[in-house]
């Protein structure tokens, strides 16, 4: 008996899944498709990959409550009404495969419990990393280590924008290009302000660090304030700039941050270009492990969905170790990059150095390139490792200084320390 699949959403990923499933040779078939405007969707070029006898419906109940559906695949996104649909499906004893990172990040713990209670699987390999098998790779392949940290480039839109800016493009132009190519939404806030990456980081934290953390408590910094000048200074510092999501076990919980960071050229993350995704896990015994590849797009994401369907078809339960609620702190001890745009006058360096000294932050280097107008003079200070929370206080004082033309930009500098394993 083929596995009967009810598909919620026949958009980019859903239609690609239909093609991937048809090419797979797996003993599984799409029997139900839910979408708005079914008449239009049936004309989709990939609708030919859906069996002719499948039911197309605009009523979700026809799928999630159907007696003859074994697996519900949810590709609609968003917390509501998706959560209710999946609860209905799980309670009815159906396996669920979802690409919904928000739902898994915010409400995963309860949904996993519901799945376990009903003896079914809830798989979400497509929720992080698209086609890069970070979720199953960590769950099945690294469950034997004690993870200390998980870092990653998990938002393809930001990586496309920042790696294009590294090549000289302007933020506004490349955002438009990303929107035209379908990499970025009309309202790009979820991507560029870090909310998408934050949800994914919480999923990775649960899996790798066994920590349940609330996405709302993870500080997210926008990439919108990064400019061409920052790539020039970063280059001088042996770095580039990427949106990085990072969580690490600390004494009293987890430290976690998302935002643009200076990534040293010696880090594999510096080589992540375009819409690539990459995650680096750091374990006590196994050291650093890197997963990378195509993180976005219909077919790669559909591969992750199909792999989850394979796991269900083959009766392969995922290793799921218990996770525990933990406090999140955004207070990270790290070196930082401070970029100022000032109206030149005597005493600026003294004033900035004084503000840092007051908070006992040590300066590591001061960089100033020639050729900028005195009225908008950029210069950069890098710090020795310090508390991000204390540094923010110093930055708040500096922001008030009369020569500041725009608010100072403060970026964490990643440290590459692939420590020897124990």
């Amino acid at each position: 008996m083929p596995l009967k699949i009810g598909l919620l959403g026949f958009g980019t990923v859903g239609s690609a899944f239909a093609e991937v499933l048809a090419a797979s040779g797996a003993d599984a078939a799409i029997t139900h498709v839910f979408n708005r405007n079914v008449a239009r969707k049936k004309d989709h070029p990939r609708a030919t990959f859906v069996p002719a006898n499948a039911l197309w419906t605009e009523r979700v109940e026809d799928v999630i409550s159907a007696a003859n559906v074994d697996v519900v695949i949810e590709l609609m996104g968003g917390l509501d009404p998706a959560e209710g649909w999946l609860r209905t499906a799980l309670a009815a004893g159906k396996h669920v495969v979802t690409a919904n990172k928000q739902l898994i990040a915010y409400r995963g713990a309860e949904l996993f419990a519901l799945a376990a209670k009903n003896g079914v699987q809830l798989l979400y390999g497509a929720a992080v990393g698209g086609g890069v098998p970070m979720i199953p790779g960590i769950a099945q392949g690294l469950s034997g280590d004690r993870m200390r940290r998980v870092s990653g480039i998990v938002n393809g839109t930001c990586n496309f924008i920042l790696s294009s800016m590294e090549g000289g493009a302007d933020y506004g132009e490349v955002l438009k290009e990303a929107q035209a190519a379908g990499y970025a939404e009309a309202d790009p806030s979820a991507d560029v302000d870090g909310f998408d990456a934050r949800a994914k980081l919480c999923i990775l934290s649960r899996l790798a660090l066994h920590a349940e953390i609330d996405p709302e408590n993870v500080p997210a910094q926008t990439i919108k304030t990064v400019s061409a000048i920052d790539f020039a200074y970063a280059k001088e510092l042996g770095c580039t700039v990427r949106q990085v999501a990072q969580a690490a076990l600390a004494e009293n919980g987890v430290t976690a941050r998302v935002g643009p960071m200076l990534v040293p050229r010696t880090s594999p993350m510096a080589f992540s270009h375009g819409t690539q995704n990459m995650v680096v896990t750091s374990g006590r015994f196994g050291g650093d492990v890197v997963f990378s590849g195509h993180g976005a797009g219909g077919p790669p994401t559909a591969v992750a969905v199909m792999s989850d369907v394979r796991a269900i078809a083959e009766n392969s339960a995922q290793v799921r170790l218990p996770s525990h609620p933990m406090q999140v702190s955004g207070d990270v001890t790290a070196p930082f990059y401070l970029r100022f745009i000032v109206a030149d006058e005597p005493g600026i360096v003294a004033a900035i150095a004084g503000a840092l000294a007051k908070f006992e932050v040590n300066i590591d280097s001061i960089l100033q390139h020639r050729g900028h107008p005195d009225a908008r003079l950029p210069f950069v200070v890098t710090t020795e490792p310090c508390s991000s929370v204390i540094l923010e206080k110093a930055v708040a004082e500096m922001a008030k200084m009369r020569f500041m033309v725009e608010p100072p930009l403060c970026l964490q500098i990643l440290v590459v320390d692939d420590k020897d394993t124990d």
Copy 2:
């Protein structure tokens, strides 16, 4: 009831496993340890991680036939007698975890069938990639794609030697260094001549390409003939040199080769240094996915073993799609690097170009650096893509030319073609 583990081998990996298990918090315990010279092994610093009531024995039957062992972990290596031991354990209904790449490469198909017949698991995550979860990552996370090719750096010893040579070290010296550090065996043939990588490639081919291929049919080229001059010419060509194992689906089976290859600086494999391992899978829908990290050493390998134990403890069966016996061909169509050491005289280029023309191989470039003695003059020809088998015929003719001081070196040049996904 804790899972009861019988350990065959308390060497580098076995003793590290004892520590990793103790740190894991898993409901599993080592109850039996088999090794030669048990008295000495009990003094191993990591023997303290073995429970005091465990049985230490020099008779393997005490473990593989013990009624109260649930999982046998085999870390002895080699085809025989390991195969017989594992057959006994599987037939007795015990799960088996092994790091034995030769056994899984040569006799895996029969052993998997035996495990399935007895309703137990045979897991081998540590057999390829050490601590890098290539095996579970591909099995669970990429089962939804149609793989076209799998390439990798899967021998840490060769990668250590070649990445050190890239930094200027001499082959003989760095081999001695690797032997002193425990990265290379006293007889390094299995590593440097490619037999180790070949076995691992066959395991990856089974998993990713669903192709059962005989390791003996995969051509393996030694790295011993690579010299400092090749790194200099490779650099001029935008490449470095690494031992690469590559298998790809072809019309009538699989093409597969192992050996030193020119790796372009734009390939992630060019950034694999020291004993790192890396695998790149290329799928029809998901494109290229990269797994990399620490491929060797006790603790990383023990993480892979422990992750397999977790999977058994959590009742997580691995996705195992059917594989089929396939023909292997070493005939690869690719560009090649030919390096000659000649005693200079007029007409050499004409003679070599003539030999290539006779076999219809097109020259892409000719490189000759100054400052070498006329009696041992190195120079390099790169070809346009051609058949490796036809090129070998041309090289055999060139090898006979009277001005050749040593046999020509012929290295495949990898092409980076991360094609757009379908």
